[in-house]
């Protein structure tokens, strides 16, 4: 008997020993060290002449990066691409993990603050100096700058670059607009409400929007409404994680209540909570829906699919003649701090902004304003296209100083874990505007503190 117990005990010891030999220290601690890539380079880097394969991680459904990479390989045949695609929400969620453990050379990024805090992104100051990005209009790069330690956005070192500079507003179906007698874009919020009411009674869905899965598209109209009711400054402070910033302001509450009014009036599709982005686009193109809150990255696509039938206007202000604001952000791409071909990736980013052919692709395919020096040549765009009107709207936003980043970009998890479920609940009548803002704010506070 005793022999038996001893054996059992031995067996137990072997097994548990194996299990517990885990090294008893606390997990983690080997954060990647910040690299001094900010140090100035002796000359602007290139992709060289040796064969290079750039690893890129981009967003599904948008042809621009792919077209640019194809053109780039045509001009620089030694560069090959290895491209991985995912939907935006997936990229947002994966960003830190992928940058740390499987560093791509170029990656589409939602927002940079947490990534900089963990030293996952390459500091691009050196490249900025070498390529002369510093002399471009400062507003283009502002959203991608971070103060030391990743505390505040909007100032400090550069950590990402844009492929272009996109902007959001309201697209409308001109044929449907004619039906309800809307001859020109609404000039105030009240006129917009009025048009929606007319559409509804004419049996037309007033707003084509998506709100399904992990991406709550009602954040688009919501932020536009926020901009109609209040100035963009406090919203940007919140997104940039300035100390003490809150989303739960009286103006934003008005905006959220307004959105709820639209929901209750049945201005959205009944199944909006199950509509994803692609479905929204395909329905809008089919002629289902008068307005669509979306960005100019679709201009090129809409010009192709519904030539001459789509108009675009910036979200009208609450008061006639008030200042206008719009979500406006670079199509952000970053370079991993552990990237193998950082120089070549930086060279590509510079090429996108400065090469005439690349700029043309940027406008024709991307539909948005290219990055680059203010005096760089603009590709020609036909007068009566949506692309032309979105580019013009961009000028108006610059004039009103009304550029905002997207409220979904405030923290890495805020879109998927707060805005989306909250907006889906608002649609289902399970959340009030007051509680929605409170709840998002409390998630925000814990996320900013926790990370």
């Amino acid at each position: 008997m005793s022999r038996r117990t001893r054996w059992n005990r031995a067996a137990f010891a072997v097994v548990m020993g194996g299990a517990l030999a885990t090294g008893c220290g606390a997990p983690g601690g080997d954060a990647p060290q910040p690299e001094a890539t900010g140090a100035s380079l002796s000359a602007a880097p290139t992709c060289g002449t040796e064969p290079v394969t750039l690893n890129a991680y981009i967003e599904t459904g948008f042809p621009l990066p792919k077209e640019l990479s194809t053109e780039f390989s045509k001009q620089y045949p030694n560069v090959k691409w290895n491209i991985r695609e995912d939907q935006f929400a997936v990229i947002t969620q994966n960003a830190p993990r992928v940058l740390a453990d499987d560093p791509p050379d170029l990656m589409r990024l939602p927002q940079v603050s947490e990534l900089v805090k963990n030293n996952l992104l390459k500091n691009l100051d050196g490249y900025a100096k070498a390529f002369g990005w510093d002399s471009w209009p400062a507003s283009q790069l502002e959203q991608m700058r971070m103060a030391p330690g990743g505390k505040t956005r909007g100032e400090g070192s550069l950590y990402a670059m844009g492929l272009n500079f996109s902007m959001t507003g309201v697209f409308y179906n001109k044929k449907l607009a004619e039906k309800i007698g809307m001859s020109s874009p609404p000039a105030t919020l009240a006129e917009l409400d009025d048009a929606m009411a007319k559409a509804k009674s004419a049996g037309i869905t007033p707003i084509a929007q998506f709100n399904g899965g992990a991406t709550g598209g009602l954040a688009f109209p919501l932020q536009d409404l926020m901009a109609a009711y209040g100035p963009p400054g406090p919203i940007n402070d919140w997104i940039y994680q300035k100390p003490g910033a809150t989303i739960d302001t009286p103006a934003n509450l008005q905006a959220t209540r307004h959105l709820e009014k639209w929901i209750k009036a049945g201005y959205f599709w009944k199944d909006v909570n199950a509509v994803d982005y692609a479905t929204m686009m395909s329905r809008f193109i089919k002629g289902d829906g008068l307005f669509m809150f979306n960005g100019d990255w679709e201009s090129g696509n809409l010009d192709k699919q519904m030539p001459g039938e789509v108009g675009f206007f910036l979200m009208p202000p609450a008061q006639q003649g008030g200042k206008q604001a719009a979500m406006s952000a670079p199509l952000t791409f970053g370079i991993s701090s552990r990237a193998k071909n950082a120089d070549c990736a930086a060279f590509f980013l510079n090429w996108v902004a400065t090469d005439p052919k690349a700029r043309e692709i940027g406008v024709k395919v991307g539909g948005s304003h290219p990055m680059g020096p203010a005096d760089a040549p603009m590709p020609e765009v036909a007068e009566d296209t949506v692309t032309a009107s979105t580019l013009a709207a961009g000028a108006k936003i610059a004039e009103d100083n009304g550029a905002m980043d997207f409220i979904a970009n405030a923290t890495g998890a805020i879109y998927a874990k707060s805005w989306t479920p909250q907006l889906q609940k608002l649609v289902a009548g399970q959340q009030t505007p007051e509680e929605l803002l409170k709840s998002v704010q409390s998630d925000y506070v814990s996320q900013v503190k926790g990370s």
């Binding site: 097994v15 954060a31 929400a89 993990r97 996952l120 399904g212 992990a214 909570n273 199950a274 889906q424």
Partner: protein, 322 residues
């Protein structure tokens, strides 16, 4: 485990009827055991035990360890004690994910088992026909394909323009048509229906094969006593199938509690958090929100829950006659 079948094996840790019965026949000399030095067996076990220790036991221990830290997976961590566990049970979203998994049991287990019993006893008489043989293959299809594919196919069927709504409209029920996976009140049941679809065939066939082992004389005797089909079912079929029912319930309950693939593909936990389950929440917490400690605490709770639910089912349904 995303596939239900192997988990069921817990059914008879060492108590299954077969092995127990055979042990009795062994020669007391224990031939193999006696002539071989006692340690030799360990050489045979060692490799399996080694990979098991490295890739299962060690990770389990680490999960428990992580669960007591606050860690973003990249930087340094701080000791958190039981805070993460407190949060799992008090945070409404996290706790709701556990409740959702429990609710899924109704669809993953109750429907396949109850419906499976009903179907199996109806088709018992034709169990050996050609049709039944074909059916055996067909009903097994959902077991063979990846759950991801089932999720994709069903998301499409259940979409607002999908076949389900088309059929409803066709029979005059267009009023209830909706985006089943996008509606707060129907999303969880809709996910449940996908699970039921996957598991119904397996349960039906498992129960049917169990029924074929019931002595027909039992039914004849019951008929003599004037028992109707219902009495037959309650007093003969169900008790004789105790073991098979136990297996079905175990497999399906674990599939419900540990569901991941289907939810990941069809709803990603939405709308709101209406279909969030622990498996998916662990994945999000660990790899997107980088709250590794919290993810681990939820993982420990999930592992404990599975064992707590599986063991009593085993105990209740185990065959006590042998």
């Amino acid at each position: 485990m995303t596939r239900p079948t192997p988990d069921s094996a817990v059914a008879s840790s060492a108590t299954g009827p077969g092995p127990a019965a055979v042990t009795g026949k062994r020669s007391p000399a224990r031939a193999a055991g006696l002539r071989t030095p006692r340690w030799v067996g360990w050489l045979f076990v060692a490799p399996a035990l080694a990979v098991y220790a490295v890739f299962v036991l060690r990770p389990i221990a680490l999960t428990v360890q992580y669960s007591m830290y606050r860690w973003d997976g990249i930087g340094p961590s701080t000791w958190a004690g039981l805070d993460n566990y407190v949060e799992v049970f008090t945070d409404p979203d996290l706790f709701a994910s556990i409740l959702n998994a429990v609710k899924l049991i109704v669809f993953f287990s109750a429907i396949p088992v109850v419906l499976g019993l009903a179907i199996a006893s109806t088709i018992r008489r034709i169990a050996t026909s050609r049709l039944a043989l074909v059916a055996r293959t067909v009903l097994f299809l959902p077991q063979v394909i990846p759950l991801v594919a089932a999720g994709i196919a069903w998301s499409w069927l259940l979409s607002s323009t999908g076949l389900v709504n088309q059929l409803l409209t066709y029979v005059g029920l267009g009023g209830v048509a909706r985006a089943w996976l996008g509606d707060f009140s129907t999303a969880l049941p809709a996910v449940g229906v996908i699970g039921a679809w996957v598991l119904l065939g397996l349960c039906t066939i498992l129960l049917l094969s169990g029924m074929s082992k019931i002595d027909p004389a039992l039914y004849e005797a019951a008929r003599m006593d004037g028992a109707g089909p219902l009495r037959e079912f309650v007093s003969i079929t169900v008790p004789s199938l105790r073991q098979e029912i136990g297996v079905c319930v175990t497999v399906t309950v674990i599939a419900a509690l540990a569901s991941f693939d289907i939810v990941y593909v069809s709803t990603q936990g939405g709308p709101g958090n209406a279909t969030m389950v622990p498996g998916l929440e662990i994945y999000y917490l660990a790899f997107s929100e980088r709250q590794v400690g919290m993810a681990s605490a939820l993982a420990v709770v999930l592992m404990a829950l599975v064992i707590l639910v599986a063991l009593p089912i085993q105990w209740l349904t185990k065959d006590r006659t042998s």
